[in-house]
Every structure is written in C-alpha cells, then in structure tokens.
C-alpha cells in the first residue's frame, strides 16, 4: 500500500523533526555560547528563506531573482505592526505572513506566465521597486536608516522573545515547523505536480493541469514562507533594514541553494549554514567581502558545478540504494 508507506514516512519525518528540535534546544545547554545562539537564530531565519526559494527554483524550476522582496515584506510588515499598531506577536506574525502572501499573489500574477529569463529579472525589478519604496517612504519605513527604535516584544503564552534563550527556542521551533510543512507540501500531490511542471510543462498542461495556477500557488507559498524568515530576522535584530529588500539578499539566497545543493530537501539549509560560516570567517579577515564571496561563487558555479549535499548524496548512492527527490 503506497499510501500507508507514505504516511509512515511522513510520521518518521515528523519524529525526525522533533528529534532535531530537541537536539537544537539542548545545544546551548551543552555548549553555552552567545555566538552559537546568534548563529543558529540567523541560520533559522535564512534557512527558512533559502528553503522557500528552493520551492520555486528546485521544485518548480522558476528561477526567481527577487525572493528577498518577501523576506523584507515580512520583516517590515511585522516590525510596523508591532511598532505602530501595538498588536500581539502571534497576530502580527499572522498578518505579516498574510500581507506577504498577498504581495506574492500580485507580483506572481504578473510574473509566473513569463519565460524563464523574463521571470528572473521581473521578479528582480519588483524587488527593487519595493526597495526604492522602502528607501523613499521615510515617514513610514525610516528610509535608508531602517526601522529604528527597536521592535517591542511583549510576552505571549509564557514566551518572552526579548529573552535570548526564548528567542532561540522560538527560532528553532519555527525552523523545524516550517521545514516540516514545506517537506509535506513538496511530498504531496501538489509537490509532484510542481516537479512535473518543472520537467515538462506542456505535458502537465495536456494532463489538464493549469500550469500558471500551480506556479502562482508555489510563488505565493514560497513568498509566505520567506516572510516567516524575515520576521525571525527582524525579531533577532529588533528592526528591519532596506538591505533585506536589496538584490544581494536574493543573490545570496540563490547562492545558498547552489552551495548546499538542490536535490536534497535539506540542501538549502546546509548551504545557509555554510554561507553564514563563510561570512563570519571572511569578514573577520578582510573588508573586501564581495571580492572573496565572488571568487567562491565562481569556484562553485564553474568548477564544482554542484552543491555540497549533491556530492554527499552521490557518495551515499554509490554505497547503497539511496532516495532522491
């Protein structure tokens, strides 16, 4: 029975996710270090962002170069709701995600029917539009200074996000839950439809699938998940900055996918961790971060041509029958 097998594997993955969360939660207890806690929170925020981009690029074959737009919209919407409207954190999160999903629906409606390369830079153009809006709408967004003055973090349900350890647990939980949700989505019929569209769009169309509708759904979902990453980041830095909406954000997201590999579901997360680590090491030695990063990117794009987990998967497959998504 394939259905039962699938259900079991999903239960297995849920258990795995729970174990991962417990491990992450115990990490600061075993090795108390502020640097480690900060690193994991950033990894959670950017890891959700990169994994959501992988829904588009890896599963949907839609190379978006403007995904940072939703990271920023999540961060700004959340920050503004907390600062100006004074809502509680769960309400602000829900509204920020809804806002980003609506934004993704509008942008997606214009972009998803376009050919690959048009899609890439139209998403980029919309991201830059958001960036210029953020820069120029100074009374609301604080312009190039970003949302200043800190984001209030009132406690809710016994969770006090102003406390670093609570924030850490919250970020880990968000990371695990989002990844699990994305994993389930990508293993659902919707996920497989998306893969079919990626591999052969005309065939999907002949089978009666409305290709653009599926693509739009993927775009909205990816935008919503990306906004959760943005919300986590704004909680961490207690603000929101126009850099979130700058094109380098999307560029880094794409590089995280490339670095980690797109054929494994956790590849983007691995890529995120590697890029953050690289970032921390490089900025310690040189101010010419772009130069160094550029050379590393060239190395991966032209010499290795694949990500870290791709090599790992190959090694596993050579040893025994492995599973590939």
């Amino acid at each position: 029975m394939p259905e039962r097998a699938e259900r079991r594997s999903l239960a297995f993955e849920t258990g795995l996710a729970l174990a991962a969360f417990v491990l992450l939660a115990l990490l600061p207890v075993v090795h108390p270090s502020k640097a480690l806690v900060d690193f994991v929170i950033r990894m959670a925020a950017l890891g959700i962002f990169a994994s959501s981009l992988n829904i588009l690029i890896g599963y949907g074959g839609m190379v978006s170069f403007g995904h940072g737009m939703f990271f920023a919209s999540g961060a700004y919407a959340f920050g503004l709701l907390m600062q100006k409207a004074g809502t509680s954190i769960p309400v602000a999160i829900a509204l920020a995600v809804l806002f980003s999903a609506a934004l993704a629906a509008i942008v997606g409606a214009i972009c998803v029917r376009l050919k690959e390369i048009y899609f890439a830079f139209l998403t980029l153009a919309f991201q830059m539009l958001l960036h210029s809006l953020i820069i120029s709408w100074v009374p609301l967004t604080g312009g190039d200074q970003g949302l200043m003055g800190g984001i209030p973090r009132p406690p809710f349900l016994g969770i006090d996000l102003a406390d670093q350890f609570h924030l850490y647990l919250f970020a880990c939980a968000a990371l695990v839950l989002c990844l699990l949700a994305m994993r389930h989505l990508m293993e659902s019929p919707f996920g497989y439809t998306l893969r079919m569209i990626r591999d052969n769009a005309p065939r999907a169309q002949f089978l009666g699938i409305q290709v653009w509708r599926m693509r739009l759904a993927a775009f909205v979902l990816a935008g919503a998940f990306a906004s959760i990453g943005g919300i986590l980041m704004s909680l961490f830095v207690s603000g929101a900055y126009p850099e979130f909406a700058y094109w380098t954000m999307s560029g880094e997201g794409i590089f995280m996918l490339m670095l980690g590999g797109m054929s494994a579901f956790l590849g983007p997360l691995v890529g995120t961790a590697l890029l953050l680590f690289l970032n921390d090491v490089v900025t310690r030695f040189t101010e010419y971060y772009g130069l160094t990063l550029g050379i590393v990117i060239l190395l991966f794009a032209l010499v290795f041509r694949r990500g870290v987990t791709d090599f790992a998967l190959d090694a596993v497959q050579r040893l025994g029958p492995g599973k590939r998504t």
């Binding site: 214009i110 139209l122 120029s136 060239l298 794009a301 032209l302």
Partner: protein, 284 residues
C-alpha cells in the same frame, strides 16, 4: 519644460547605449547579462582615470570604450562561455559573482567614496537658450553621439554582411556554424560590442553624474526595464523605450519626486500586461 525634456533626453540616451548592448547580447546569445551595469561602472571609472592622467576627454572616452569592450570579450570567452549549455541559475551565479568582484575591485582601486570627474574644458561654453529653457552644450554633444551610434548600430545590423551573419547566428546558430562561420567569434564579438557601448555610456556619463562603487546596479535595472518595454532583442525598441523612460524620469521627478522609480515599474507592468513581448518584441 525644455530643460526637463533635454534632461529626459540625456538620461534616455545614456540608457539607450547601455540597453542596446544588453538587448543585442540577449538577441544573439539568449542570455541576460546581469553584469552589464558593472560594465557601465567600469567605463565611468576608466574614463575618470584616463582623464585624470592625460587631461584629454576624447582619449578618456576612447580608452573607456575600448577597455570595457576588451573586458566584455574576456568575460565572455573565459567565463560566460562555460555556462551557455547549463540552466539560467548558473548564468545568474556567474554574473552575481562578477558584480560583487567588480564592485569590490573598484572600491579597492579608487576608494569607496563618491567621485566626480568635472566638466572637460572643451565643453565649458555658454549653454544654448531655447524656448525659455537652458541646454548645456555637453547635452547636445551627448545626444548627437548617442543618436549617431544608434543609427550606425541599426544600419550595421540591418544592412551589412556582418549584421546579417549576426542575425543568422541569433536565429539558428548550428546552421551558421555548419556553413563554416565560427559562432564563438560572433558571440565574443557581440559581448565585446555590448561592453564597448556600456563603457562608452559610462564614460559619457562621467562628467554629468557622480560615480561610486555599486553605481552599475541601478542603471542595470533601468536598462532591463527599457529592454522589457522595448522588446528583448530589438534595437529600435530599446531606443524608443529608453527615451520614454528618460522622459518619465525627468517629468516624474517634478510631479512625484519620491515615486519616480515606481512610475517606471508601473509603466513596465502595464506594458507587460498589454503586450508581454514588449513594444517591438516578437515573443515573450
């Protein structure tokens, strides 16, 4: 009014030079050169350096155009060539890497602060007064040069033998190479020409715009908008759209100073909804 129109025209003309290269590269190679803005930046800085060293603006412009042209050739032959077959993702990554590298290289050589070249002595003449507006002499020169290049480019592609070969290579590269023409050389040449135009635009913009590392990206986005509106691969489309965008920018900065960029994007979205292939494009 006249002042606005001329400032719109020079923005449009500079955009046209950059966008023409972008659209040419796309038309022939079917790739979007995301480093094109960095080519423009390189042109401006090269012109600045040569002008500082020699004091001759003519020499500065020629060196910048030739230098960036050569850089474009090297970039295509050494790097882009390797990612033609693979997916868009790899092309994006290589371009992304080069934007980062070039921005930092410029910062390393010329420093992170804003630089300004200053108006060359030859153009320090009294401005032309026309219908109540003031037109600096340099603007007239700039518009004339851009129009001449646009004309030459259009003629070269539509009428000459080389232009025919390039168009054929865009249409069916394997057939062209089967007929004994080296398509690699054509690809390299198109990239060199695109680089040359971007470098020229950068050099011509140097006296009227300040420069800083990262300046290439905003012009890249604007020239993308121009190519999308005009239609990918169409030189005429690039000219018309560049002038439109230039005028929108010039007039928008009076009407909606904060939302000038937004106006361009709105205009682009409108065109895409009405005619996805752009004004002069064939298919989207």
């Amino acid at each position: 009014m006249v002042t606005q129109v001329t400032s719109g025209l020079i923005i449009g003309m500079l955009l046209f030079l950059v966008a023409a290269g972008l659209t040419l590269i796309f038309g022939v190679l079917k790739i979007v050169n995301f480093t094109h803005g960095s080519f423009y930046m390189l042109g401006a800085y090269l012109a600045y350096a040569v002008y500082q060293a020699s004091g001759s603006f003519t020499l500065a412009v020629l060196c910048a155009a030739a230098g960036v042209g050569l850089f474009g050739l090297a970039f295509e032959r050494l790097f882009m060539k390797r990612v033609y077959g693979s997916n868009v993702l790899m092309q994006l990554l290589v371009c992304y890497a080069f934007i980062l590298i070039l921005d930092d290289a410029v910062k390393l050589i010329w420093g992170p602060e804003f630089k300004s070249m200053g108006m060359p002595a030859a153009f320090q003449r009294p401005p032309i007064l026309l219908a109540g507006g003031v037109i600096p002499f340099f603007y007239v020169f700039l518009i004339a040069i851009a129009l001449a290049i646009g004309g030459a480019l259009g003629f070269g592609i539509a009428r000459t033998r080389i232009g025919k070969v390039v168009r054929a290579a865009a249409h069916n590269p394997s057939m062209v190479s089967a007929l004994g023409i080296n398509t690699g050389v054509i690809y390299g040449a198109v990239f060199a020409l695109g680089g040359l135009l971007a470098g020229l635009a950068g050099a011509l913009a140097a006296p009227v715009r300040s420069m800083a590392p990262g300046m290439g990206f905003s012009i890249l986005i604007e020239s993308f908008i121009v190519t999308v509106i005009g239609g990918m691969g169409s030189i005429v489309g690039a000219l018309v759209a560049a002038l439109m965008i230039g005028l929108i920018r010039a007039f928008g900065s009076i009407g909606f100073p904060l939302f000038t960029e937004g106006l361009m994007f709105l205009f682009m979205a409108l065109i895409l909804i009405v005619k996805p292939s752009g004004l002069f494009g064939k298919d989207a």
